[in-house]
């Protein structure tokens, strides 16, 4: 089956820049610029400070008054990490493995479950699908933190406390991922297209995996970004006790508790931790923007 190239209307972004609207005042422009600069600094300075601190040698960490910029940069804070972060029984590599494993397992399962459900919500003939989707949409309000206590009871009743499952399973039914995917399927997969495939004899599974999934690639890349971001920084509250099952964010907090002497290494760990989500964002950002433009809640 050949897939025709689809022209989506919302791909024709912003021609606004091309014609002049004659509605811009100088004072307004100045205010915009000032506001953007201030907010930009507020957003970025802490991150730059974080990077600066990660390259400071010990005497610069202890210097009074502290300087914003690093004078004699060193990578000692980074090279010291493996020994600082490893516990007696668990080497650093184990925490790295846990973080990577949990992030990918949770994210991939979430993408498949949410996409399949979104496809059904959008295109199936099932009764009650609108009711079910309305409930999913209501659940956008609640997240793992607000649901923590009843979820804790469920974890303990099902005996999955202190296993990988407490990271992975609750990530699968993220309402936001399913919601974003459903809105995107609505806006970018035409019914006629699926009907044609159906007449050609394609079954539901085949339609989903061979037609819908390739078409909604921007949306699952978006789900990848959001889910990966969440899973990468996950710190479960009171459900993981074994050192062997802890993830990087959990052991990092031991560094930050070490005070000013450890602050260089704490920031070095933070800098390393920021790299994966930033990479994911840069690889997915144009797809994310395309997906988000259909993210509205219609009432």
């Amino acid at each position: 089956m050949k897939e025709p190239k689809m022209k989506k209307q919302h791909l024709k972004v912003s021609k606004t820049a091309q014609y002049k609207r004659y509605t811009r005042s100088k004072a307004g422009n100045f205010f915009f610029f000032l506001f953007l600069t201030l907010m930009g600094l507020f957003s970025v300075l802490p991150l730059i400070y974080c990077i600066m601190t990660s390259f400071k040698p010990l005497e610069e960490l202890l210097i009074y008054p502290p300087k914003f910029f690093v004078q004699r940069p060193t990578i000692l804070n980074y090279t010291a990490l493996p020994s600082l972060l490893a516990s007696l029984r668990v080497p650093l590599s184990r925490y790295v493995f846990n973080s990577v494993f949990v992030a990918f397992a949770g994210t991939i399962l979430h993408i498949f479950a949410a996409s399949a459900a979104a496809f059904v919500f959008s295109k199936s003939t099932l009764k009650f699908k609108n009711l079910m989707f309305a409930i999913v949409q209501l659940a956008l309000l609640y997240n793992a933190y607000t649901l923590a206590i009843p979820q804790y009871l469920i974890f303990s009743k099902t005996n999955i406390i202190d296993t990988y499952w407490v990271y992975i399973l609750p990530a699968i039914p993220s309402a936001m991922g399913c919601f974003l995917m459903k809105q995107y399927v609505d806006s970018s997969v035409p019914d006629a297209f699926l009907e044609a495939a159906r007449i050609d004899g394609a079954g539901v599974f085949r339609i989903f995996f061979q037609i819908v999934m390739p078409l909604v690639k921007p949306a699952w890349l978006t789900l990848f970004l959001f889910s990966f971001r969440d899973m990468w920084s996950i710190i479960p509250g009171g459900t993981i006790f074994s050192e062997e099952l802890k993830t990087l964010p959990q052991v990092m907090s031991s560094l930050t508790a070490g005070g000013i002497v450890r602050s260089g290494s704490a920031m070095a760990a933070t800098v390393i931790m920021m790299i994966p989500p930033i990479l994911v964002f840069w690889f997915t950002q144009s797809n994310v923007m395309e997906t988000m433009s259909s993210s509205g809640i219609k009432e």
């Binding site: 912003s14 606004t16 014609y19 609207r21 509605t23 005042s25 915009f32 953007l36 957003s43 991150l47 974080c50 601190t53 202890l62 210097i63 502290p66 399962l109 498949f112 479950a113 059904v120 199936s124 099932l126 079910m132 409930i135 659940a139 956008l140 609640y142 997240n143 933190y145 607000t146 923590a148 206590i149 009843p150 804790y152 009871l153 469920i154 303990s156 399973l169 609750p170 039914p173 309402a175 936001m176 079954g203 539901v204 599974f205 959001f226 971001r229 509250g237 009171g238 907090s253 005070g259 000013i260 602050s263 933070t270 920021m274 989500p277 988000m292 433009s293 993210s295 509205g296 809640i297």
Partner: protein, 309 residues
């Protein structure tokens, strides 16, 4: 005639068999998500309502408690009113401010070309993107003279002794609010950036013909009304984020904080539930939290309908 009928019934049987099969396939595709959604979202919400009417410690059998858990929040618990107040202060400040900022920033950067816009969107989104970078605030606001904030203020002669920021009830709320705002340019911000790009240029053109004179009129009469559904999505995300402030507080200020000055419902819930095992009471608090969030969701849905009126 007869053969025709036969063919029709056969066809009918085939289509109904196919419909059945398709129905099963759809259910099969729906199942993985819905099963876990029921277990980890619907059951928790519903069971909280039931559990809030009992006293339960996970070991002995639940004992009927009526509404006593709800009464206890306001009459028998000195801490709860404080954490409720803290949660509401944080939600009512970071919610609307974060929501408005996430729109205004998206609106400001929409003027630039695609490359610059993407770069600026990244800069504003970066704090939320990089999950645990908020630890840097602990160093900037460290309690001794080496903390950046302290040394700056001491150099300026504004203070003589370093302030232990996170342990001082006069300041810790302000700092938590700042950190939370720093983190609040998240999904809603990205949705706004994308949504503004998506407003049809024809609308702006028509607007300028209809006599729109400046960007504020354009914002009020064109941009905001055409983004109503995206704004509602952003508002829902913002409510979710601003009522579940907790992990940042615990990471920066610890638990419990001095006089419970920045403890929130979420951090208090962990205490009542997973440390003290008072699950009936914890469930009642959760139900109140769910109800507050749902209430603000309805209020905002109605407020957004005012745009362009």
């Amino acid at each position: 005639m007869r053969t025709n009928n036969k063919i029709n019934t056969a066809k009918l049987r085939m289509t109904s068999a196919r419909n059945m099969g398709e129905k099963m396939a759809y259910l099969g595709l729906l199942a993985p998500f819905m099963v876990f959604f029921i277990i980890f979202t619907i059951v928790p919400v519903l069971s909280s309502v039931v559990l809030s009417l009992f006293n339960y410690d996970m070991v002995s059998t639940p004992v009927w408690a009526g509404l006593s858990n709800y009464l206890r929040m306001f009459t028998g618990d000195k801490v709860f009113p404080i954490v409720l107040k803290n949660t509401l202060i944080m939600a009512i400040i970071t919610g609307p401010v974060g929501f408005i900022l996430s729109f205004v920033l998206a609106w400001c950067i929409s003027e630039f070309n695609a490359y610059l816009r993407t770069f600026l969107a990244f800069l504003f989104y970066a704090p939320a993107l990089i999950g645990n970078a908020f630890y840097v605030w602990q160093i900037a606001f460290s309690g001794d003279g080496n903390g950046y904030a302290n040394s700056l203020l001491m150099n300026l002669g504004l203070i003589n002794d370093p302030i232990v920021w996170f342990k001082d009830a006069n300041y810790n709320m302000t700092i938590i609010l700042i950190v939370q705002l720093w983190l609040s340019m998240g999904v809603a911000f990205l949705a706004n950036v994308a949504g503004i790009q998506n407003v049809s240029p024809d609308l702006y053109e028509a607007g300028s013909i209809d006599g729109i004179r400046n960007r504020w009129q354009e914002l009020w009469y064109i941009t905001l009304p055409s983004m109503k559904s995206i704004l509602l999505f952003g508002a829902v995300m913002q409510i979710q984020a601003s009522f579940s402030i907790g992990s940042v507080v615990t990471a920066l200020a610890g638990y419990p904080t001095v006089n419970h000055s920045v403890d929130t419902i979420v951090t208090y819930l962990t205490d009542v539930g997973t440390l003290r095992y008072e699950f009936g009471y914890a469930a009642a608090i959760s139900v109140l939290l769910f109800a507050m969030m749902a209430f603000f969701r309805v209020v905002i849905g109605n407020l957004l309908n005012l745009f362009g009126k």
